[in-house]
Amino acid sequence: MKTVLKNIYSWIDERVHLEDVVHFMGKKYVPVHSHTIWYYFGGVSLFLFIIQVITGILLLLYYKSGEELAFESIQFIMSKVQFGWLIRSVHSWAANLFILAAFIHMFSVYFGKAYRKPREITWLSGMLMLFLALAFGFSGYLLPWNELAFFATKVGTDIAGVVPVIGEPLLVFMRGGEDVTGATLTRLFGFHVAVFPGIFTVLLAIHLLLVQRQGMSEPLEYAVEKNTVRKTMPFFPNFILRDLLLWLIVVNILAILAVFFPWELGKKADAFAPAPAGIKPEWYFLFMFQTLKYIPAQIWFVDGEVLGILLFGLAGLLWMLVPFWDKKSSRGERNRWVNYFGLFAVMYIIIFTIIGWLV
């Protein structure tokens, strides 16, 4: 067996020079400091994304898109297909954990100022992937064609519709017409299983390539101390093995959630039924949902919802462009305003999510 593997390795090595990759990995080191733990969340996000791809493909074997088929096909998956309920539950839970891990990863990069020069492109590709992860969540939410999904999509696409100038055509494009119908379902299904994964894969490749090429960023306070001896650990096998151990823990958490709290299907969507009481979006949209509840109908001469959406859009854009306005961190200087802005965002998201959950 060993000789066969060795022969396969030599065969590939002869053609693509694997030795160079092995040599590169052997020389790669990961900084060790009190914040090293945060490095693992990128890997956890990647792992959960891989789970999404695998379980998504399995669901695709039985899922049928369409107003008259979608809900029934999920019912079939959950009741007739062997382990279908488990695959769907894992897919739904892993989606939530993926977004949670991606958020933790993003905030750790932000507070560690790892976006600073020369890692601006890594940050931008990561932020675009985070937005895509939210788009994955939004589009996937409609696919079971249940009551909650129907109204969540109505509200979500209507929010896009109030954006000045491009809003109206964007709404029609997302819905495939004026209203949320079977056309919307077909469209979002296409985005969810083809368009978004395609774009995501390209961004992921760029992101991982840059991380490998540039190595892990050190927190600013460590990076500026030039004369101290730095502790490191080899990427291969030390860091990889730790990564794998954490992935194993994540699998266990996922299994517990998927088995003991199976994802419910709810009632089939009915365009002529009222929105059910207590309707809420997924937790990662809750802070925006809650804010929209508090904004008055009119502020001066602007519609409250338009103002709220524009403010969220502006904040998101500012956040994404942080490497370009925070010049101090790139120079190795402390920038307290970035921390205050970040802390405000974290507190805002946490507080409004909790209120949204409880109210």
């Binding site: 109505k154 009222p274 929105a275 109908a297």
Partner: protein
Amino acid sequence: MENESAQIIRFGNKPVIVVRTTSGDVHAFNATCTHLDCTVQFKKELGVIWCACHNGKYDLNGRNISGPPPKPLEAYRVVIKDKEIFVSKNV
């Protein structure tokens, strides 16, 4: 239709809410909330038309009275003939 009750009917591809008040008056409105497009419902205990999505409230004349809805609900014409309710667009 009883007093203090409501029903959502199909009007083409739009939901329309028909409400009968305590005094027996019948009103019909476009059931799509003017805030973010959810379908509203009649809340008997509060005597209002209510949107569950963002807690928007309208009185039984369709006027937005509380919460984020920016505009009243679009009113439809109601004609009652031989105990049958006919709903049409206001021209």
